[in-house]
């Protein structure tokens, strides 16, 4: 499928989603939908570094929280419209991703993974001790009830939903474009055999830095509107382990080979979790994710997409 066709298709699907949500016009749907869309962005972002390059990032929460807290910071200093905050969040997270990558990507993948864990804790400790953004007590962001767009009064949550939808579209298009480009090829060689990649002329460090920066920036962008969504931001919620587990579980369960996997994983797992939280409890829903992750990683390493591909291959024989 040509890139232009794909972009049009994605935009069409997104528009349909938005229209459908408008028709139902149930506030809960917007809230839940926002969460799922957020996961689509996080999972897709994680997969750029994890699935394409083979470098595991355990600190997705750190990049997400950086986006959220840069919003809080600017909300207190200098009011900005959310789309701008999203760009700022992306910039901040991207730079931190670049810096951290520069420090640790010259080492083995396992060291990088551990370093990402470390980063999350260091960042959380810094934020907890920084009173200007609320510290451990948290920060309030008053969410207005509506926002006026082209003369119409739109409920704020719809506005946030729309922004996250747009972000999800950007993330998916970016992932697919990267996948099919020379860059994506380079990423794949890093994942397959980094030594051979270097010997073939691939500048592995540079590519890994690009992946880390891109991945971090997207996660930061996903985090930027979060304070408005949740109203009260505490380090525990911003740095919650859920984000780390979900951004790993969703691509791994969906399939890490392409942009489709994280999308499938995010929609499936996101929906399951919403249902479980409402029907059982939020602790159990997170347990389900963990168990599914371990099960899939052992039994179906190529994820759901991989299973479908295997099925289709068997049928064609």
């Amino acid at each position: 499928m040509q890139s232009r066709t794909f972009i049009l298709a994605v935009l069409a699907v997104a528009a349909a989603c938005f229209a459908a949500a408008q028709l139902v016009s149930n506030d809960y749907l917007f809230f839940a939908g926002y969460t799922v869309l957020q996961f689509i962005v996080l999972a897709t972002a994680w997969n750029i570094l994890g699935g394409y390059c083979g470098y595991v990032n355990f600190g997705s929460a750190a990049f997400f929280a950086l986006g959220a807290y840069s919003t809080v910071f600017f909300h207190k200093t200098f009011q900005m419209p959310i789309p701008l905050l999203i760009l700022v969040g992306g910039l901040v997270s991207g730079i931190v991703g670049l810096g951290m990558g520069y420090l640790t990507l010259r080492l083995r993948g396992s060291f990088f993974a551990i370093a990402t864990l470390a980063l999350a804790v260091v960042l959380q400790t810094l934020i907890v001790n920084w009173d200007y953004v609320g510290g451990s007590r948290g920060a309030y962001i008053i969410r207005p009830n509506t926002i006026s767009i082209v003369g119409r009064e739109v409920p704020y949550i719809e506005y946030l939903f729309f922004l996250m939808l747009a972000l999800a579209v950007v993330a998916i298009i970016t992932a697919r474009t990267v996948e099919r480009s020379r860059l994506g090829f380079g990423f794949a060689t890093i994942r397959d055999d980094e030594l051979a990649a270097e010997a073939s002329g691939v500048p592995t460090l540079r590519l890994k830095l690009i992946a880390t920066t891109l991945s971090g920036a997207l996660m930061g962008m996903a985090g930027a509107p979060f304070p408005y969504y949740i109203g009260f931001l505490q380090p525990q919620s911003a740095f919650a382990l859920d984000y780390a587990v979900n951004s790993i579980a969703m691509p791994m369960i969906g399939g890490t080979g392409s942009w489709i996997g994280p999308l499938v994983g995010a929609i499936l797992l996101g929906t399951i979790q919403q249902v479980a939280t409402v029907t059982i409890s939020s602790a159990v829903n997170v347990l389900i994710v963990g168990v599914l992750l371990v099960a899939f990683v052992i039994i179906a390493p190529n994820g759901l997409v991989g299973l479908v591909q295997d099925l289709m291959r068997k049928k064609s024989r």
Binding site: G54, V56, L117, L287, L293
Partner: protein, 291 residues
Amino acid sequence: MDFPFELLINAVIAGVLLGGFYIAVTVGISIAFGMLDIVNIAHPAFIILGSYLAYILNSRLGIDPVLVGLLMLPVFYALGAAVYQVYYLSFEKRGQEALRGLAFFFGILFITEVALILVFGVDYRYVEASYIGPAAHFAFIDLPYRMLIPCVLALAMFAALQLYLGRTFVGRAIMAVAQDQGALSLMAANPIRIKRIAFGISIATAAMAGAFLIIIQPVEPSVGREYIGRVFAICVLGGLGSLPGTVIGAMLLGIVESITATFYGPSWAPAVAFGFLLLTLAFRPAGILGR
């Protein structure tokens, strides 16, 4: 203003005692990651599991936590061997350990924490023993027994492991497999079996470390997460694959954390370990005694 020497000295001594405990916590990872190249980030989960077992047996049957640790050694050894078997068959054999092996351990870490929350809730749990509470006093120096005993026992456990690795056939095979798996198979020893034994030992140490942990401080399920960074920081700082390096790293971290907590407040302590880790990885990844 005169410099608070007494405070400093007590902080350093507390740091040394803490460091001893950190040795017990880290030696398992030293073996798993340093020697077997298995990035078991779920190690703290096993430690917390050990803590909760000590809690159950101590509160229900009044058994001393150290005794629980000893009793649990064979159980945890078997658990470790089983986990390695799954890890080997699912990942090492297929060459997938980089991505999927890590995700596997992460999943285990997560499942353990959430399961503990569901069963025990988020309240802090503690054990009771005669030595928790009283302390020895020498002039202005305080030596709480609840810190002293785990420290001494941890050093003993470390010494026992060093002897085992240096003097027995299996122990030396473990050291050999760290260097060269191929050479080991020429020695007519099955490398997979050796690794399984080593990983079993690694998890067994978690049983003792868990008992020590709950003696030193009350635990709740998310405490394990603080230790992930500490454990790897110590390993990397001391030098991967070097058990003596672990001692140095543990002591260093213990002392710096203790001083930081005393003079800057305990909320900064978690960042110390991770900060160390990031700095070491950035500037001297081989660590102090690394190979």
